[in-house]
C-alpha cells in the first residue's frame, strides 16, 4: 500500500512511545499473609493447600498441608479452627469451612494410602521425644523430615496421648487416629509404648542428642469438697482414659460433672452414651464465661445434657449409698465475680466427676538443672527450649492454651529449633509478610456462596452410640468449600490485573507463573491494585 505521508500510519507504531515515563507510582506484586495462616497455631499454609484443593489436586493439597501438620484427618475433627474465626470471607457471606476441607483431605489421604514424601538425608542425630501426644508426634514428624531419628517413649500402652485418652470416640474415631499414627511410624518415627521416661538427664547421657518433652497435663486438679467415704467422686481424666480400656467406667444413672471446660462436656456426653439417664454439668460462672467452645456446648445441650450455671458443689456423698450432692447458687457481683448466695439445693447423683483442669507431671525433670517451672508449667523460650540446653518442651505442659493444634504447632517449632541447635545455630523465625486484611481486598468480585454445612448425626443416635457426630463433606461439597477461599493476599490468577489495565501493561506469564508489569508502558494509574480481589498488588512511589 502506498500510504500518504503522515495521514496514514502502520499499525502498532505507538509502541515507540514509552508511556512508563509518566509514572509517579508503580505497582508491585506482593504476597500478603492470609489471616487464616496467621491464626493457625500449627502454622499451616492454609491458603496454599486450599489453592491446590480448588483445582481438584487433592494429593498436592495434602502434601502442602503436611509440610506443617502431619495429621489432617485428626485436625479436621478436633481442631477448634481459629483460622475460620479469622477468615476474611466472614465479612462477605460466611467463613470458609477450612476445617471441613482439611478433614476431607485427611480422609482422602487415608483412603488413597498416600505416604509422606521421603525425608532429608539422614543426619545421624537421635532425638528423644517424651510422650506420643500431638506435641510429641508433631515434633517427631518434623525431626524425621529434617533427617534426624526421632524416638518416642510413651508411658501408656497405646500412642496418641490426649487424642486417645482425652477426646471421645464420637469426636475422633480410633481408626482415624491409628491410621495417622501408622503413617508416621511408616515414615520412620520410632514409638516405644509402655516405656515411661523417669529421668531425662540419664536419657540425655544415653546417646540422645536432644530431648523434646511432650508429657502433657494429665493429672487432674482436685478441689476440696467434703464428701462421705462411700462417695463416688472421680476425675474426668481418669474417666476418659478409662474409656480406652477393657471395661468402661461405671458412672451410674445420674452423673454430675463439675467444671465448665471442654473436658467437662466430653465427660457428660460420654456419660450419656454409657447409658446415664441424666448428665448434669455444674459450673460456677455463666454460660458466656464457660471456657468450653460454644459449639460443644450447643451439641451437648442438643443431646439432652443440662447445665447448671452459677452453681458450686458444697458437699458430696450425702446419701447412704454415697450419692447425692448439695449445691449452692452463685450470683455475679457488680465486678462480675460469682458470690455465694446462701441458696442451696440437693441434687440426686450416682457419681460426681471433677473436670476442674489438669496439671503436668513434671517429676521426670527433677534432676535437670536450669529448668524453670512456673505455676505448674515449664518455661520455654521462643524456640521452645527450656532453661537446660538441648531440652525442649511443648504442648499442654508448656502453656495454658491447651489444644491439639497448639501442641502440633509447638512440636513443629521445637523440631526446627532442635535442628538449628544441633548445628550450633539458633533458629530465628522468618520475617512475616504484612497481613492481608479485608480492607486491602476488593470483595465485589467474590460471588455469593454460602458455607456448606456438615451433616450432623441424629440426636438419638448421638446419645446412644459413639459414632462420629459431625460428618465430613463429600467431594463436590469439599471442592465447593475450598473454592470459596478468597486467597487473601496471594495471587490466584484471576486475570483481573491483566484485564483492567487501560495501557495493556501487564504481561501474562502463563498458568502457575502469574504476571509481570510492563514498566515501559505502565502509567501508574493504580486500577490493577484497586481491582485485585485478594489485595496482592501494592502501589509504591516511583523513586525518580
Amino acid at each position: 500500500m502506498d500510504k500518504p505521508f503522515a495521514i496514514t500510519l502502520d499499525p502498532g507504531s505507538s509502541l515507540a512511545n514509552r508511556t512508563g515515563s509518566w509514572r509517579t507510582l508503580r505497582p508491585e506484586y506482593i504476597d500478603r499473609l492470609p489471616p487464616c495462616n496467621a491464626a493457625c497455631p500449627a502454622g499451616e499454609n492454609i491458603q496454599d493447600w486450599l489453592f491446590h484443593a480448588e483445582s481438584g489436586k487433592y494429593e498436592k493439597a495434602w502434601r502442602s498441608l503436611v509440610e506443617n501438620n502431619p495429621m489432617p484427618a485428626i485436625m479436621g475433627r478436633v481442631c477448634y479452627h481459629p483460622c475460620e474465626g479469622a477468615c476474611n470471607r466472614e465479612q462477605v457471606d460466611s467463613a470458609v469451612g477450612i476445617n471441613s476441607v482439611e478433614r476431607f483431605l485427611g480422609d482422602e489421604a487415608n483412603k488413597q494410602g498416600w505416604q509422606f514424601s521421603p525425608p532429608a538425608a539422614a543426619t545421624g542425630r537421635r532425638v528423644l521425644v517424651v510422650g506420643s501426644g500431638p506435641a510429641g508426634l508433631s515434633a517427631a514428624y518434623h525431626l524425621t523430615r529434617l533427617g534426624h531419628q526421632a524416638v518416642i517413649h510413651e508411658a501408656a500402652p497405646l500412642a496418641g496421648g490426649m487424642l486417645r485418652f482425652g477426646i471421645p470416640k464420637y469426636r475422633l474415631p480410633r481408626e482415624v487416629l491409628d491410621a495417622e499414627i501408622k503413617r508416621l511410624t511408616d515414615f520412620g518415627v520410632e514409638i516405644h509404648l509402655q516405656s515411661k521416661v523417669t529421668d531425662v538427664r540419664k536419657a540425655l547421657a544415653d546417646g540422645f542428642d536432644a530431648v523434646f518433652l511432650g508429657v502433657g497435663a494429665h493429672i487432674a486438679k482436685r478441689a476440696y469438697i467434703p464428701a462421705g467415704d462411700a462417695c463416688k467422686v472421680l476425675d474426668a481424666v481418669a474417666v476418659l482414659r478409662g474409656m480406652e480400656g477393657e471395661s468402661t467406667p461405671l458412672l451410674g444413672r445420674k452423673v454430675v460433672v463439675y467444671g465448665g471446660g471442654n473436658t467437662a462436656l466430653d465427660v457428660a456426653r460420654t456419660a450419656k452414651r454409657l447409658g446415664a439417664e441424666e448428665a448434669i454439668i455444674v459450673y460456677r460462672r455463666t454460660r458466656k464465661q464457660m471456657p468450653a467452645h460454644p459449639f460443644e456446648v450447643e451439641e451437648a445441650l442438643q443431646e439432652g445434657i443440662s447445665i447448671k450455671w452459677l452453681t458450686t458443689i458444697k458437699e458430696a456423698g450425702m446419701s447412704e449409698d454415697g450419692g447425692d450432692i448439695m449445691v449452692e447458687k452463685m450470683a455475679l457481683d457488680d465486678k462480675g465475680f460469682p458470690q455465694p448466695t446462701g441458696e442451696f439445693e440437693r441434687i440426686a447423683a450416682d457419681s460426681v466427676v471433677l473436670a476442674l483442669g489438669q496439671d503436668a507431671d513434671l517429676s521426670l525433670l527433677e534432676n535437670v538443672p536450669g529448668l524453670v517451672v512456673n505455676k505448674g508449667l515449664i518455661e520455654v523460650d521462643a524456640g521452645m527450649m527450656t532453661g537446660h540446653p538441648g531440652v525442649f518442651a511443648g504442648g499442654d505442659m508448656a502453656g495454658l492454651e491447651r489444644t491439639v493444634t497448639v501442641a502440633v504447632g509447638h512440636g513443629k517449632l521445637a523440631a526446627r529449633a532442635i535442628d538449628a541447635w544441633l548445628s550450633g545455630e539458633t533458629w530465628t523465625p522468618p520475617p512475616r509478610h504484612e497481613l492481608a486484611t479485608f480492607e486491602r481486598m476488593n470483595p465485589w468480585y467474590y460471588s455469593d456462596a454460602p458455607k456448606t454445612v456438615r451433616p450432623v448425626l441424629d440426636i438419638i443416635r448421638r446419645q446412644s452410640t459413639f459414632d462420629e457426630v459431625l460428618g465430613g463433606l463429600d467431594e463436590s461439597n469439599a471442592l465447593f468449600e475450598a473454592r470459596r477461599c478468597m486467597s487473601c493476599g496471594n495471587c490466584f490468577e484471576c486475570d483481573n490485573c491483566y484485564g483492567v489495565c487501560p495501557d495493556n501493561a501487564v504481561i501474562k506469564l502463563g498458568p502457575g507463573k502469574r504476571f509481570k508489569f510492563n514498566l515501559d508502558y505502565c502509567k501508574g494509574c493504580g486500577i490493577c491494585a484497586t481491582e485485585c480481589p485478594c489485595g496482592a498488588i501494592k502501589m509504591v512511589p516511583e523513586e525518580n
Binding site: 495521514i7 502502520d10 499499525p11
Partner: protein, 417 residues
C-alpha cells in the same frame, strides 16, 4: 449513440457507464434529476453491483462517500449551493485524506438570500479545498468530463468536482452522443486504491498531524494537484482517441488567432459569448474567446501562453468575491503578471440573471476601446441600487435589503428583456 435527453439524464447515464459502486445522495435543486435517474437505474437493475444510499444530509452524503472510497469502492455523489456548503467539513476531509470521489456540482447561487438559479459561487467557494475542479461548457462536455474525472481522480488519488450550470445545462434537453459500455471500459480501468481499509493489511487512516509535518502534507497535496496539469491534456487526448471527439483538456481557445481582445469565461455562457464574438468578427473586430475547462489546478502557464499575443482580456464571470471583485479574474491576473496586458472584469449572471447577446455586444465593444471600468456589473439596475443606498442613509432601521429591492423591482424572479 445519439440521444435527445435532458442534461441531468446524460450525466446520470455517463456516470452509470463508469461502473460506480457506491452512490449516495441528498436532494437539492438543481441536481435532483441526476441522482433520481441513477437511483432508478440501480433499483431496476440496469446499474448493477452498485449501492444507492438515500442519506439524511449532504454532510452525510460526502461522509458516506469517504467511507466507501476508503474501503476501495468507486464512489459518487452530487450537490449544489447550500448542500455543498453543508458538506464543506467533509469536502476538505476527502481531499485531505486523498480519496478519489467524483462529485457533480450543479452550479447554483449561494444564499442568503435563497436563490435556486445558476451562478458559479458554490463551486468557486471551494476552490481552495484541494479538489480538482472542471467546468463543462455543454451537456456533451458535461457527460464526457465525468468519464475523464473518474480516471483522473483515481490516478491522482484526489477528489474531483465536475461543474455544470444548474438549470441551464442540467434541465436543458439537447442532443448528446452517449458512449458505449465498451468504450468506457476501454478508457476507465477498475479502481485500484492507493490506500484501503482491509483486515488483511491494517492501517490507521486520518492521524493527527502537528506542526512538525503539517506543512509537508499540504505541500504534497499542492504538488499532487499540479500533476493534473500534465494528466488532463493527456487524458483528453486519449479520450479523443477512444470516443472520437474533443472534450475536456485545460482550456479551449476560439478565434484567438490574431485577437487583440480575448474574452475569458467558464461554463455554458461560452456559447452565448461565441455567438457574439462571431458577430463582432464579422464586423471586423479582432476578438477571440478563451474557455477555461480546468479551474483547479489553475493552468497558469497555459493561460499565459493563450494570452501572449493579445492586448487586452475581459474576464466575464458568474461569480463575485465580495470585498474585492472577481474570482476568476484574480486567478487569471496571476497568470499574466508582468505581461503588460490590460485586463477587465465583468461580473454577470449572478443568481441566474440572463446574459443577453445585446448586453454582451455592448460591453465587449466598449472593452475593445478600453472604455470600461476595471470591474463592471453587467446590466445592473442602478436606479434600484441608488434608491436603496439613499434609503439606508436616511433611516438606520431600513429593513431587510432583499425584500426592499423586490418591492422596488416589482417582479419576483428574473427580469424579462
Amino acid at each position: 449513440m445519439l440521444k435527445q435527453i435532458e442534461g441531468s439524464r446524460a450525466v446520470a447515464e455517463a456516470v452509470a457507464l463508469c461502473r460506480p459502486e457506491v452512490i449516495c445522495a441528498y436532494p437539492i435543486s438543481p441536481q435532483t434529476h441526476i441522482v433520481e435517474a441513477l437511483g432508478e437505474m440501480v433499483k431496476d437493475g440496469s446499474l448493477s453491483d452498485c449501492e444507492f444510499i438515500n442519506v439524511e444530509s449532504e454532510f452525510a452524503a460526502m461522509s458516506v462517500a469517504i467511507g466507501a472510497a476508503a474501503t476501495g469502492a468507486r464512489s459518487y455523489t452530487a450537490t449544489a449551493s447550500q448542500g455543498l456548503l453543508y458538506m464543506v467539513e467533509a469536502v476538505y476531509n476527502a481531499s485531505g485524506l486523498g480519496l478519489p470521489i467524483v462529485m457533480t456540482v450543479a452550479n447554483r447561487a449561494i444564499g442568503a438570500p435563497i436563490n435556486i438559479w445558476n451562478d458559479h459561487s458554490d463551486a468557486l467557494s471551494q476552490r481552495d479545498s484541494g479538489w480538482l475542479q472542471l467546468f463543462a461548457e455543454s451537456n456533451q462536455e458535461a457527460l464526457d468530463l465525468h468519464i475523464q474525472a473518474f480516471r483522473l481522480a483515481e490516478e491522482l488519488s484526489l477528489p474531483i468536482m465536475v461543474c455544470m450550470d444548474g438549470f441551464i445545462l442540467t434541465h436543458a434537453v439537447e442532443r448528446v452522443d452517449m458512449p458505449t459500455q465498451q468504450q468506457v471500459d476501454a478508457y476507465l480501468p477498475p479502481y485500484a486504491p492507493r490506500q484501503v481499509l482491509d483486515p488483511a493489511e491494517p492501517v490507521s487512516i486520518g492521524a493527527m498531524v502537528g506542526p512538525e509535518a503539517f506543512m509537508e502534507v499540504r505541500y504534497l497535496a499542492h504538488a499532487k494537484q499540479q500533476e493534473a496539469l500534465t494528466l488532463i491534456p493527456a487524458y483528453a487526448a486519449e479520450f479523443k482517441a477512444v470516443f472520437g471527439r474533443d472534450s475536456g483538456g485545460l482550456l479551449h481557445g476560439y478565434c484567438t488567432a490574431g485577437a487583440e481582445t480575448i474574452i475569458i469565461a467558464m461554463g455554458s455562457v461560452l456559447g452565448t459569448i461565441k455567438d457574439v464574438v462571431d458577430e463582432m468578427r464579422a464586423d471586423g473586430h479582432q476578438i477571440g474567446v478563451l474557455g477555461i475547462t480546468c479551474f483547479r489546478p489553475f493552468p497558469l502557464a497555459a493561460v499565459a501562453a493563450a494570452l501572449a499575443h493579445c492586448k487586452r482580456f475581459v474576464v466575464l464571470e458568474k461569480s463575485l468575491a465580495i470585498g474585492i471583485g472577481g474570482i476568476v479574474a484574480t486567478n487569471v491576473r496571476m497568470a499574466v503578471t508582468g505581461m503588460g496586458l490590460k485586463g477587465y472584469t465583468v461580473i454577470a449572471g449572478l443568481g441566474g440573471r440572463a446574459i443577453t447577446k445585446k448586453s454582451l455586444h455592448a460591453v465587449f465593444r466598449k472593452a475593445a476601446m478600453d472604455n470600461i471600468e476595471p470591474v463592471t456589473f453587467l446590466d445592473l439596475d442602478w436606479k434600484v441600487v441608488n434608491k436603496q443606498l439613499e434609503r439606508e442613509k436616511a433611516h438606520r432601521k431600513s429593513g431587510p435589503v432583499a425584500e426592499a429591492l423586490l418591492r422596488d423591482v416589482g417582479v419576483i424572479g428574473a427580469r424579462n428583456y
